[in-house]
């Protein structure tokens, strides 16, 4: 056989572009973070200007950090390493550029639309529907480019980093599409197809797994490529890679409901979310162990090499966050921590510590290789490391203390547990103010560290020659016997055992008595069979897995099946069962058209970023806010607005609690009523006229989605709106606080005053 050799030049230009985008958007995202952190302490920094208020900028911060910063970092890291792990240039330069410019365009449109208040009102899923479509399309471009490259690889076996990239691409596509299913009411607005508890479940299935498959798995893949490269050490354990990869991608998907513990979410889903979160601890730590133990024998290099410093700290923060996550998922811990700054500490341990430090390590490692020039200053990189570390520790220390302090105060009772110790919410807010200030300092330090990186990068690449990696490869065709068929993918002992475990497990968990018993017996028998077979079949099964690693498509298929299982079992029954006709106890009254318009304003201003609408099944919640929220009380809410953070009090039953004039004055200047409040002023709501022109199409979509609105003509809708507006305005005039009927605030007040006004369900007659 004659060996023909060719030289390949990798497409490193696209990596350089994504790298620069990472650095720029990282700085932007962190800067917005420092701004909104300051707004929480100094309300004046909202500038009483719509597009600068916290409720609109906080989504900008989260979207920038996740999709702009970590997104670009992921693409840079994935494109650089995939080409080398495949020994092939990226399949298409055209797709690569479409990917790059498409993604930047999406980020820019997000940065414009979010401050304008154009939002879907779901966390990390705020972008409006035309941008959603663009995201999905660009993600498909990424996927095609990636899998096409895999198909053209000259390296037969898939290295563990590629497993994680495959899981990322497949799962993010699935999550993103399902959680963004919406029906447009106009070019800039849509309603999600799910409502209430279903929307909550889908949202946190997405939200939790955005953390898993956008912020974790791609970064783990990046760790598996760059960390052994930088350390010059072999990866600690291949079999640990196998076990933790599959257990991670399978278990992660189930844990979403831990964001909805003690809420109106059905109890079985809460228990699934909690127990699977605990089972997620070990798979997550598998990744940390493989990272940290790979550094064995290279720890001395940590003293001198900033890249390894960042990687070691980043992986350590990953381990810390993935221990904290299961801890927070325990219902009783969650009762204290949920809605408080503890959760903020937790997510920033992940983003600042894990994502940010892995990004920094990767950038410092890539810079000399992409520009063929040594890093401008190793000392500055070390300085960045130490400033960043101190910043994170201040940030997290402050938020842990703040979260636990406020949680304890909110839950504290006196008089033999019958009365809240701190009935005034503001007392708890003002106690944590110094800690909120410390958070600003910590975040500011972290941003400073990042700016040191920016300076170092500019000095490194200025005048440097961009260089593309090359490799000499032998042209060869893959051996045919390594191909795996569909039957070979699924009909083999390891997969059959996995399928049996999932099927029997679910039968036992969710079936009726008979099905459950069969599941239990079947599960135990499978375990015994597995135990008996392992010693003799181990090498056979290892061989099967090695063969699977030569087959990208079957591997992808199996990954998809393992991530799809959890979502199907949680979401499908909820969509089938949680319908208005099945609701017991209490059910929501559909909003009047004016109240619906007010609700859309509530969503526009991002009120859900600070206010929950979910009174949990916990005594302190019930004492403070009234009877716990029932599942049926948000059944017509597209989108649900249960919230995830209480910077201010819960609003689920605020309707009728205060007079209209209270709300008018409070929205105009919260401090005129609530001394010490940090809520922004909303003066524009009193001067803007309500846009009712889109209401007919909004109601049409609501009707389409199953909200029981009568078929009304546009004129009938406008008449109904006008009559309710005039009633509220007249009452305000009588109360000495006249506001013209057509102002936005009238609609918002109408909405706020209806919150919690549900009706009892008549027991069904049989």
């Amino acid at each position: 056989m004659s060996e023909q050799k060719i030289t390949i030049e990798y497409n490193d230009k696209i990596v350089r572009y994504f790298l620069l985008a990472t650095v720029i958007w990282g700085a932007v995202g962190m800067l917005v973070g420092v701004l909104i952190a300051s707004q929480l302490n100094f309300w004046q920094m909202n500038f009483s200007t719509p597009w600068l208020t916290f409720g609109r900028l906080r989504p900008l911060h989260t979207n920038a950090a996740i999709f702009a910063f970590v997104g670009n970092m992921m693409f840079a890291g994935v494109y650089y390493s995939t080409q080398r792990l495949c020994r092939a240039r990226l399949a298409s330069d055209f797709l690569s550029w479409v990917h790059f410019w498409g993604w930047q365009l999406i980020i820019v449109s997000a940065a414009i639309t979010l401050p304008l208040g154009l939002t879907r009102g779901k966390e990390y899923a705020e972008l409006i529907w035309p941008i959603n479509i663009a995201v999905a399309l660009i993600w498909v471009v990424f996927a095609v480019n990636f899998f096409w490259t895999l198909a053209r690889r000259r390296e037969p076996a898939l290295y563990v980093a590629l497993w994680f990239y495959i899981a990322t691409i497949v799962t993010v596509a699935m999550l993103y599409i399902v959680n963004h299913l919406s029906i447009p009411t106009s070019l800039l607005h849509s309603y999600p197809v799910f409502s209430g508890v279903q929307d909550g479940l889908v949202q946190w299935w997405y939200g939790h797994n955005a953390v898993a498959f956008f912020l974790t798995t791609p970064i783990l893949g990046i760790m598996y490529y760059y960390l052994p490269k930088a350390a010059g050490r072999p990866v600690y354990s291949y079999r640990l890679s196998v076990v933790h990869f599959w257990s991670l991608v399978f278990v992660y998907i189930w844990a979403g409901p831990h964001h909805l513990l003690n809420t109106a979410l059905p109890g079985w889903l809460q228990n699934l979310g909690m127990t699977f979160s605990l089972m997620l601890w070990a798979p997550s730590w598998g990744g940390m162990l493989n990272g940290l133990l790979t550094l064995r024998g290279a720890w001395d290099k940590l003293r001198t090499d900033p890249v390894l410093k960042f990687f070691a700290a980043g992986v350590t923060f990953y381990g810390m966050s993935t221990f904290e996550g299961p801890l927070l998922s325990i219902k009783s811990v969650n009762a204290l921590a949920h809605y408080t700054d503890w959760i903020i500490a937790h997510v920033h341990g992940g983003t600042l510590g894990w994502n940010g430090f892995m990004a920094a390590g990767m950038i410092y490692w890539l810079l000399p290789r992409l520009w063929s020039k040594p890093l401008h200053s190793v000392s500055l990189a070390n300085l960045h490391f130490w400033i960043g570390t101190v910043g994170i520790l201040l940030y997290m220390g402050a938020m842990w203390t703040s979260g636990i302090t406020q949680g304890l105060m909110l839950n504290a009772t006196t008089d033999h547990g019958t009365v809240l110790a701190y009935p005034n919410f503001l007392d708890t807010l003002n106690t944590i103010r110094p800690l909120m200030l410390m958070r600003v300092v910590g975040g500011g330090l972290y941003l400073t560290g990042w700016l040191v990186l920016v300076y170092n990068l500019v000095r490194t690449i200025r005048g440097a020659q961009p260089v593309n990696g090359t490799i000499e490869v032998v042209v060869e065709t893959p051996a045919p016997e390594t191909k795996m068929s569909l039957a070979g993918t699924f009909l083999n002992a390891p997969i059959v055992f996995c399928i049996l475990a999932v099927v029997f497990g679910n039968m036992w968990m969710l079936g009726g008595n008979l099905v459950s018993t069969i599941g239990l017996v079947g599960g135990i028998m499978s375990l015994i069979a597995l135990y008996a077979l392992v010693p003799s079949r181990k090498s056979l099964w290892n061989g099967w897995y090695e063969k699977l690693l030569l087959n990208a498509l079957p591997f992808t298929l199996l990954t998809f099946v393992s991530v799809a299982a959890g979502g199907l079992i949680q979401i499908v029954p909820t969509i089938i069962m949680q319908k208005p006709k099945n609701v017991e106890d209490r059910i929501q009254v559909p909003y009047t058209p004016l109240e619906l318009a007010g609700r859309d304003l509530y969503v526009r201003e991002g009120c859900y970023n600070c206010h929950s609408q979910m009174i949990r099944t916990l005594v302190p919640d019930v004492l403070r806010y009234g009877p716990y929220s029932r599942l049926g009380e948000s059944i017509y809410d597209h989108p649900f607005q249960w919230g995830s953070k209480r910077t201010g009090p819960d609003l689920a039953r605020v309707g009728g609690k205060y007079p209209d004039v209270w709300h008018i004055r409070h929205m105009e200047n919260p401090r005129s009523i609530s001394v010490g409040s940090n809520m922004p002023n909303y003066p524009w709501l009193l001067s803007n006229n309500l846009d009712i022109s889109t209401l007919p199409s909004k109601l049409k979509v609501q009707r389409l989605l199953g909200v029981p609105y009568p078929a009304q003509s546009a004129q009938e809708i406008f008449d109904e709106v006008g009559s309710q507006q005039r009633t509220i305005s007249r009452d305000l005039r009588l109360a000495g606080a006249y506001v013209a009927p057509e102002k936005e605030i009238i609609a918002l007040v109408a909405y706020l005053q209806t919150l919690g006004k549900s009706v009892p369900v008549q027991p069904a007659t049989h």
Binding site: E155, P234, V235, G267, T275, M279, L420, N424, L426, G626
Partner: protein, 197 residues
């Protein structure tokens, strides 16, 4: 002592050997055993899941969230009934002359009530409490009732469940400290809010 004399070249065990394949020129993998303590955390969590699920979802030995909170609230309600203070007019007037009660009431009033009634009690969104006009009754027990259950249609929240009977009593005592027993009580229909221009 074995630790004092390190063996220069320990024989390579199976798991110290590198897997044969090398990726991208220099990435290699060991195939070390999974740490036992790590496996224990994995198996432990799985066993916990089985036990927890059995306890709550199969055997229904534990209460559901709603049943648990209903039960706790019933106990709290019972305690509140048992601890309910005497709130007849005579004792409330007496409390309104007791400086300890009045001071405690002032603190609660300023943090909770003053946003609508002002620190001077002269009224803003909510009515004036120092004049002799009363909308929902000016007898001490009537004031107590108004604070406890609220007047939702007029935007007076129900403070009893949030503040508890003791704090409500103190607040009423504080309000009454601006009045004296036997003073005239005029009936007022409604309050027109006083708003700053």
């Amino acid at each position: 002592m074995a630790a004092m004399t390190p063996t220069p070249n320990p024989p390579p065990s199976e798991q110290d050997q590198l897997r044969p394949h090398v990726f991208d020129g220099d990435i290699q993998e060991y195939d070390k055993r999974l740490p036992n303590w790590w496996l224990m955390t994995l198996y432990g969590a799985i066993i916990f899941w089985v036990g927890y699920w059995f306890y709550y979802e199969r055997a229904h030995l534990g209460l559901s969230n709603a049943a648990a909170v209903d039960q706790q609230m019933a106990i709290i309600e019972a305690k509140r009934l048992a601890d309910a203070p005497v709130v007849d007019d005579a004792s409330l007037w007496k409390m309104s002359r007791n400086p300890v009660f009045v001071e405690a009431g002032r603190a609660t009033f300023n943090s909770t009530c003053a946003s609508c009634h002002t620190v001077a009690l002269t009224g803003a969104i909510g009515p004036n409490l120092v004049d002799q006009k009363w909308i929902h009754g000016g007898r001490p027990s009537e004031v107590y009732h108004t604070v406890t259950t609220g007047v939702l249609v007029k935007g007076m929240p129900s403070w009893g469940p949030v503040l508890g009977a003791k704090k409500v009593t103190e607040v009423v005592a504080y309000v009454l400290s601006y009045h004296h027993e036997g003073e005239a009580v005029e009936v007022q229909d409604a309050w027109i809010p006083i708003l700053p221009k």
